[in-house]
């Protein structure tokens, strides 16, 4: 076989093997989708069937049935949106000051921000449970969101700083010469250039807030019930009703999956930006 033909064969085998590996890797998710379309009886069929009559009953149940997860979705939306909005609103100016202005004690503050990311969540859950119960903020939105700041804020600042640092310094100098003051320079010149970075940060903060479990399971209750907690409770309630479980889980994960697909290029860039510039969460 000629050299070129051998190479092509090798590439095809390579491609085939990697595609197979890929399918194998996402099999759990694919299978979950399949199971979610199965009826109660079908789910327990053995050996598991791949060809069957699909049904949307499980999805209908997840949305409108007795254990509808709609209120959970709403809870998660409120928590994630408010957390993200406030976090990004606080982090953007802080990251700008950090990355591009002369700040007294920059080193100390920077180290402090980095250190707070190192705190394991259980280390905050214990005191927060005690504190929130004393203040009466258990099972409240404000209580949970306050706790969520502990991991989203330092992360957002850290990520935004790396984006802000990339802009050449002459930008501010040119703007100052054009008689733009500090605030207007930030608004008209700097922020538009980090739009991508702000978008990526927003996505990550939202994802982390939506998927959070430890704080959610302990600090929520009947009023505040995010989807992650609902899913966990599901297992004990619906023993082997995997069809319903899969459908509910997929619906619960739909927002983050949608965001993941929509912003995939930004997410990959965000992961690598973080990797290039220094360690931290996610």
């Amino acid at each position: 076989m000629s050299r070129a033909a051998r190479r092509r064969a090798a590439t095809s085998i390579l491609l085939g093997a990697t595609v197979a590996l890929l399918l194998l890797w996402v099999f759990p998710i694919l299978w979950a989708i399949v199971v979610s379309l199965k009826g109660e009886v079908e789910v327990l069929a053995w050996p598991p069937s791949v060809v069957f009559a699909p049904t949307l009953d499980n999805y209908a149940d997840a949305l409108a049935g007795r254990f509808s997860i709609l209120p959970n979705l709403w809870s998660s939306v409120v928590i994630a949106t408010v957390t993200t909005a406030i976090t990004v609103g606080l982090a953007v100016p802080a990251a700008y000051a950090f990355a591009r202005l002369r700040l007294r004690g920059k080193q100390t503050i920077g180290f402090y921000t980095l250190a707070t990311q190192m705190i394991p969540p259980i280390g905050l859950l214990v005191p927060y449970y005690l504190i929130l119960s004393k203040v009466g903020w258990l099972d409240t939105y404000q209580g949970l969101i306050t706790v969520y700041f502990t991991f989203s804020l330092p992360f957002a600042i850290w990520l935004l700083v790396s984006y802000m640092e990339d802009i050449p310094h002459e930008m501010e100098e040119a703007a100052f010469l054009d008689k733009a003051g500090r605030l207007r320079t930030l608004w008209y010149v700097i922020l538009p250039q980090v739009r991508g970075g702000i978008a990526v940060t927003t996505v990550f903060v939202f994802l982390n807030a939506w998927n959070e479990f430890l704080f959610a399971v302990q600090l929520s209750g009947n009023t505040v019930r995010p989807v992650t907690v609902a899913m966990y409770n599901f297992v004990s309630v619906e023993q082997t009703l995997w069809g319903k479980l899969s459908a509910a889980a997929l619906v619960a994960m739909l927002p983050v999956i949608a965001i993941g697909f929509a912003a995939q290029r930004q997410i990959v860039k965000g992961l690598t930006v973080g990797a290039v510039k220094g360690g931290g969460r996610r």
């Binding site: 996402v26 007294r104 700041f149 966990y232 983050v256 995939q264």
Partner: protein, 306 residues
């Protein structure tokens, strides 16, 4: 020339210009910093304080200053050491597996001429899922005895049926697999991007210098990837140390204490046994361990870049 008389007042104004920039910077940082201080430092101090107290909500009459007794109890606690060992095994094996598999996949995919984007898109899927959902899916669909797909696979291959999550000897391996499944794509994506960013001309130079594929990988690719690898290790180690949701959903820390990493042990002590004092001490020890590990890994990073 009376230079002093000319410059003295202007030096004051000059200092004013610097001070106005610092004031502006402070104004921008203050709100975020205050929120951070209030939400993290205060509870952290409370945690440390509680670790020196006796707080047991199942026995509310037991209160008061405990001194170091919680910590003494910890050092004598077999479960603590067991949990510590499990944490070490869990962290090291998941990070190592993620790194090796992520790198392997990246090396495979980088050679594919077109369609790399498909792999990137698919890789994002496990990452964006909530760990609790991942744990649930694996517990029910994949690893359930008799009905799970893995069982189906092993039975079809004649390897028999196992209780993947209920058997104490298999449970730890199972949760390691679950964690690795979810996070290897992260390592894959980062390493793939780093590989793509390597300048092609040095590889061409190496081929002219008669280096074969393995030599090129060992002497050029790997050293150039070192910064990315170190970052991946740091980030994944931090996540592994604080892993909770997936294990909790899959095994709850069991069977018995087979998958009870330190994180879960602290949780169980505080919220199941309601012994918050001792739980705080356990949490503090995990905090110390995390800081030490991250400190060590960071130093490794700066040492390598020198």
């Amino acid at each position: 020339m009376s230079v002093a008389a000319v410059t003295l007042p202007s030096r004051r104004r000059r200092a004013g210009l610097l001070r106005s920039e610092q004031a502006f910077a402070l104004l921008l940082v203050a709100p975020g910093l205050i929120v951070l201080l209030v939400t993290t430092t205060f509870p952290l101090l409370y945690l440390i304080w509680s670790s020196f107290q006796q707080i047991n909500l199942s026995m509310p009459w037991v209160t008061g200053f405990a001194g170091l007794s919680n910590y003494a109890q910890m050092l004598n606690d077999g479960q603590f050491w067991h949990a510590l060992g499990l944490t070490a095994i869990y962290t090291i094996s998941t990070v190592a597996l993620q790194l090796v598999m992520g790198l392997g996949l990246a090396l495979l995919v980088i050679q594919i001429p077109a369609g790399q984007w498909l792999f990137r898109v698919v890789a994002i899927l496990p990452i964006v899922l909530a760990p609790v959902v991942v744990g649930l899916f694996w517990r029910t669909l994949m690893l359930a005895p008799q009905f799970g797909m893995l069982d189906y696979a092993t039975r079809s291959l004649g390897l028999g049926s196992y209780n993947w999550l209920g058997d104490p000897e298999l449970a730890l391996a199972s949760v390691i697999v679950i964690h690795t499944w979810q996070w290897t794509p992260f390592a894959f994506l980062v390493l793939l991007a780093s590989l793509a960013a390597l300048p092609p001309d040095i590889f061409e130079a190496a081929r002219i210098d008669r280096a074969n594929a393995l030599q090129r990988f060992w002497h050029i690719t790997l050293p150039l990837l070192r910064p990315a690898i170190v970052i991946v290790v740091i980030m994944r180690a931090m996540i592994a140390l604080s892993a909770f949701a997936a294990i909790f959903a899959a095994t709850g820390g069991g069977p018995g204490t087979a998958t009870q990493i330190l994180n879960l042990y602290a949780y169980r002590t505080s919220f199941t046994n309601l012994n918050f004092g001792y739980g705080s001490a356990l949490a503090v020890s995990l905090l110390v361990i995390t800081l030490c590990v991250s400190g060590f890994l960071f130093r490794l990073r700066t040492a390598r870049t020198r």
